[in-house]
Symmetry: C2
Subunit: 307 residues, 2 copies
């Protein structure tokens, strides 16, 4: 099975969400950012995810942002909004809303408040969502990010969901960083789109049959990720592929030194000249000024080296 | 400082939420349950908490349940609804709504999706809530339940919140089970209401200057908790106090053998003759039939011994 026959496949940006002075999502800036990401080579935008601070927004704020993006001219087929929250009925409402604006594929966290929940309980939750929505268009990308959700998506659960709802559970975003887990899913579930959350793993995962990536660093180096996606079959000796992969590794290091999301926002603020881009909604915080200075110096050196 | 000068003080039930066949909160049954809990001696109802499955309900469902309870004749001064969710703006909306129906004291989880958040970030979150609501009536009970929220409430954070908002942050529910943490807060923060989440610790905490409890087992043995609250100054040799404490310890064991919330619901279903009480909303699950049988046999033995 080739990568491009999987759905979704390609490079998706776990897009940052710019905030206005009231710490509300800034629609105009976000639409501009989505355009930038697509222009840079992203195949689509995984908005309203962990990187997008979606779990700090109300359901109404999430719905309004998604509507604005579609109204702003971004094709809904290129959007993979996050719609999974702690409350079952809110997950259903957000998913239904996404379908109503023309989106057909969503990224869905498992319910994440209660801990130590069984696979039966998570299966029941996903099952209720699919059944209550009852819309054959719906396609769900599961979301494995145990370091945040504290709720891993087990292979047994994937098997069960695919068995009962084969047309619905089409893939998974794996943000665990555990490459063996990703390749095990590729091997065990033919036709299932495994998307990596850690940028440096895009290349090796594609070579193992993965579908692509949904990453935060794409806010910064979408072009390199897009290059790797197009050329992953090239030899490791290919200079351009080597250079792209090296920049991806380097960029990931750059934004991992301090808090990742705040770092990415600081770099976008610098690129766009819009200081407001630095805002995060509590409980997340902007970087202290000293860290911004250090980061931007490193980012400038990175950009200079990349020319 | 005496226990009764703290606010809130007494025995509060972390009330279970009965669900209808659609797994939505059953308002009529919930109001009846609240009346039962107050009749049994609870000083108030801490509805919409962890035990009440609140984080599995949408904001609209939470608001509707609270309104129904107040419309059903339960005095809002006796209610301590949970209003803290992952999204800042939703926490604000739920808290504002509680104030609008006459409630003045809420139990507020810290934002619980992002992990490894700093005290500065949690402070900023609580601070935004208080400032945006801007209502002097608001009193907040912090909620320390690291095993679920993965976000402990540190003493340094409490100190800071009390310093900046002395009239607002009036107490904490400590569900960690760590008695030393509770007594340390009692000692360090005079006038701050420390409420325990683990029933057997009510007696020792009251003797150290704690304010009371918010517990799940109160759905079952409110009378004993109320007895302990009224008589904690009695001698350890007092037969009635001894018996109440022994029943509390025993009841806690009873509902800790299998999943706690499902166990409590099964026992309430048996007491009321309403099988629907057994329902939980995914990702939580009802007990398997074999466990229900075992539990109810144990519960019957417990009730018989308690006469």
């Amino acid at each position: 099975m080739s990568t491009s026959s999987l759905h979704p496949h390609g490079v998706f940006s776990a897009a940052l969400t710019p905030l206005d002075a009231e710490l509300a999502p800034d629609h105009a800036r976000f639409i501009a950012h989505c355009r930038y990401l697509l222009d840079e080579g992203c195949d689509g935008i995984a908005l309203l995810g962990t990187t997008g601070e979606a779990n700090s927004f109300s359901a109404a704020e999430r719905a309004a942002l998604l509507e604005a993006v579609v109204a702003g001219g971004i094709a809904p087929q290129r959007l993979l909004p996050g719609t999974g929250v702690a409350a079952l009925t809110e997950t259903i409402a957000l998913t239904r809303h996404a379908l109503s604006v023309g989106v057909d594929t969503v990224v869905m966290l498992p319910p994440f408040y209660y801990k130590g929940v069984s696979d039966d309980g998570i299966f029941a939750s996903y099952s209720e969502v699919v059944q209550r929505i009852g819309d054959a268009r719906l396609k769900v990308v599961l979301y494995h990010i145990p370091q945040m959700s504290a709720q891993p998506i087990s292979h047994a659960l994937i098997e069960r969901l695919r068995k009962v709802y084969p047309a619905t559970f089409v893939g998974i975003k794996d943000s665990s960083g555990d490459f063996a887990n990703m390749t095990a899913m590729v091997d065990r579930f033919p036709g299932f789109a495994v998307l990596v959350g850690a940028d440096p793993l895009l290349l090796p995962l594609l070579r193992k049959g993965g579908a692509g990536c949904i990453t935060a660093t794409s806010n910064l180096i979408a072009r390199d990720l897009a290059y790797v996606y197009k050329h992953f079959r090239d030899s490791d000796d290919d200079a351009a592929l080597k250079a792209a992969q090296a920049r991806i590794v380097k960029a990931r290091e750059l934004v991992s030194r301090f808090a990742q999301m705040a770092s990415l926002k600081a770099i976008v603020a610098e690129r766009t000249g819009q200081a407001g881009w630095q805002r995060l909604r509590p409980p997340l915080e902007s970087l202290p000024l000293a860290q911004v200075k250090e980061l931007l110096a490193d980012a400038a050196a990175f950009a200079a080296a990349a020319v």
